[in-house]
């Protein structure tokens, strides 16, 4: 990548950020990525020397909450890593250019840096009818596939791009699909969450920049450094769970004491994210800390696994409030009634076997067949 662009370090120094601030940022990033101490040096070096990363950032079927999350990152360097360092060549929400110039911006990147640029995507892609999401007269599907063809890697921001989110929820009228289902042949990093945590987004970018390769991913394509542990397993209320202390309703004594929200439908036990560790808004809080159960926004299909305030999801075809337990009890009662009926029938119809009375001649014959 031949480039006369200033490095990230030069850029942030130019903006009046001290070297000490810069190093603090690098250290924080290394810690979040789970790197050993030597990793800090690698990040420092990468940010000091490497030229900017060419990035095309698409918005398809989404609400821009991923961008919102990112630009609201508390640490100024977190925001600038995206806004300055990778200096988005194309980002519909934030760029000044529009119309033809905007289109040109990303086409220039594709022509100038084949195999080097990163495609970042917010939003799902409609497949039922591609026309549901069109930009500049072309469908999201076309735009994405064209851009991905020569990309180095693809970053899917948020639940929409990673799993379809609300657009893909039943009945999914637009046939919305996540990025990894509509492209092939390129690594896709699913940065899950609705939205993902800003620091996690920055961490992924820093990783790409520092090591020049995609981070280690889990079975669902999410970076292991941020998504290998359940919200439940890192929850500060976990002690209450193990102790069997549960909130029974939102205004009870348990809620005031900060007991576990498991029975309020908390999806922490089935959700992999870093909310419990990194938290939100400069580490101020996260949903559970604010007294609200986790809704599992970093998991595929979380809209269809509702209700949010119920431990078990509703069973499809039985109504949203019907859980497996209700069906199970119903089947159990049915079985009990069936058995009682069968027992009565046995006493009537198997009377001979029970009392050992010899069978009439005609029946004996049929039995010898």
């Amino acid at each position: 990548m031949e480039n006369n662009q200033p490095s990230f370090y030069e850029e942030v120094r130019g903006k009046g950020i001290s070297r000490k601030e810069f190093l603090k940022f690098c250290t924080a990033m290394a810690a979040m990525l789970g790197l050993e101490t030597s990793g800090i040096g690698q990040i420092v070096k990468a940010l000091e020397t490497k030229p900017r990363l060419p990035v095309i950032w698409f918005h398809f079927q989404e609400c821009t909450c991923c961008s919102e999350s990112f630009i609201r990152a508390s640490h100024p360097l977190v925001a600038s890593i995206i806004l300055d360092k990778i200096s988005l060549d194309y980002q519909e929400t934030l760029m000044a250019a529009s119309g033809v110039q905007a289109e040109e911006a990303y086409k220039t990147v594709m022509a100038k840096y084949p195999g080097q640029y990163i495609v970042m995507v917010e939003g799902s892609i409609p497949t039922e009818n591609e026309a549901y999401c069109c930009i500049g007269g072309r469908s999201a599907y076309q735009i994405l596939n064209e851009a991905v063809a020569n990309a180095k890697a693809v970053v899917a921001w948020g639940n929409c791009a990673s799993a379809g989110c609300v657009q893909a929820a039943s009945p999914n009228p637009t046939g919305a699909k996540p990025v990894h289902k509509v492209i092939s042949g390129k690594p896709v990093i699913n940065v899950q969450g609705c939205p993902p945590i800003a620091d996690v987004m920055a961490g992924v970018v820093v990783h790409l920049l520092t090591f020049d390769r995609i981070p280690q991913l889990d079975g669902m394509g999410r970076p292991k450094s941020f998504y290998s542990r359940r919200v439940h397993d890192t929850c500060y209320r976990r002690a209450n769970f193990d102790a069997g202390l549960f909130v029974e309703s939102f205004d009870d004594e348990g809620a005031k004491r900060g007991y576990c929200l498991f029975k309020m439908g908390c999806k922490g036990p089935v959700t992999y994210n870093s909310c419990g560790i990194i938290k939100w808004n400069d580490g101020i809080s996260y949903p559970i800390q604010s007294g609200h159960p986790c809704i599992g926004c970093a998991e595929a299909g979380f809209w269809d696994n509702g209700p949010f305030y119920q431990h078990l999801p509703g069973v499809k075809g039985f109504g949203i409030e019907t859980t497996a337990d209700k069906i199970g009890v119903g089947l159990g009662v049915t079985a009990a009634v069936g058995m009682a009926g069968h027992a009565i029938m046995t006493n009537v119809r198997k009377h001979r076997e029970i009392t050992n009375t010899p069978e009439p001649a005609s029946e004996t014959q049929t039995n010898k067949e």
């Binding site: 359940r230 193990d242 069997g244 202390l245 999801p313 079985a335 049929t366």
Partner: protein
């Protein structure tokens, strides 16, 4: 005094490993269903205290996990025994791949379920319908082990649970895995109800000592049934 005189033979049906498997399995299922249900719908038995003083829910989960490991290895052992045990415990009893098995299943439905005919069923071990249902329960055991260890994998560093890390991505997330694991728990409960009822039923009607056979291993079987069975078994050869 009422009595009957019919020629009966004692037949050794369930070997000790099969009986041990059965009772370990029964205890595991009992423990897993109780603790499993509690994990899904915990009782509010403590309240108004600090977490520091209690650990009952952690203990419930611990019992669930220990029972699960025991259940899993017991299940593996039973599969092994299906290839090395006696003719009544062998794998081929459970998979209905022969016409005669399907025919017997139909007969069992007619005789014991609908009770429209009364021809006694000749089988000495499990009848064909029972065997087939056990085969389905084995498949459910398998899915239950997969989903259970799949959920366990994320919080374990141990070798065995780690082998199941692929399960969660296959199902598309922990939520689906938990739902399947929970629904299948009910199949165990319903199975146990019917199983116990049917043991009572068969002992009541046939008086072959089916209940105690799972304790001592021996069944009383009518002489002609045994003769016929031996004949069939010789004809079939040692396939």
């Amino acid at each position: 005094m009422r009595s009957r005189t019919i020629p009966m033979r004692e037949v050794f049906v369930w070997e000790l490993p099969v009986r041990l498997y059965h009772w370990i399995n029964a205890l595991c299922i009992l423990s897993l269903c109780i603790t499993g249900y509690l994990i899904g719908a915990p009782l509010a038995i403590v309240n108004g205290t600090e977490a520091y003083y209690n650990y009952w829910f952690g203990t419930v989960r611990f019992i669930h996990f220990v029972s699960a490991f025991l259940f899993f290895f017991n299940f593996l052992f039973r599969i092994y025994w299906g290839f090395s045990g006696n003719e009544f415990s062998r794998w081929y009893n459970f998979i209905p791949y022969k016409r005669s098995q399907w025919r017997e299943m139909l007969n069992v439905i007619k005789v014991d379920v609908l009770q429209i005919t009364h021809k006694p069923i000749d089988s000495i071990g499990h009848n064909a319908l029972a065997s087939f249902i056990y085969f389905i329960t084995f498949l459910i055991f398998l899915v239950q082990c997969l989903t259970g260890f799949g959920m366990y994998a994320a919080m374990s560093k141990a070798f065995l649970p780690k082998l199941f890390a692929w399960v969660v991505p296959l199902f598309g997330g922990d939520m689906h895995v938990r739902q399947v694991h929970h629904i299948l728990m009910w199949s165990f409960i319903i199975f146990a109800l019917l199983h116990v009822y049917l043991v009572f039923y068969h002992d009541y009607i046939e008086r072959r000592g089916v209940t105690s056979s799972m304790i001592g291993g021996w069944k009383f079987v009518e002489e002609d049934v045994v003769e016929r069975h031996n004949l069939d078994f010789k004809e079939k050869g040692d396939n």
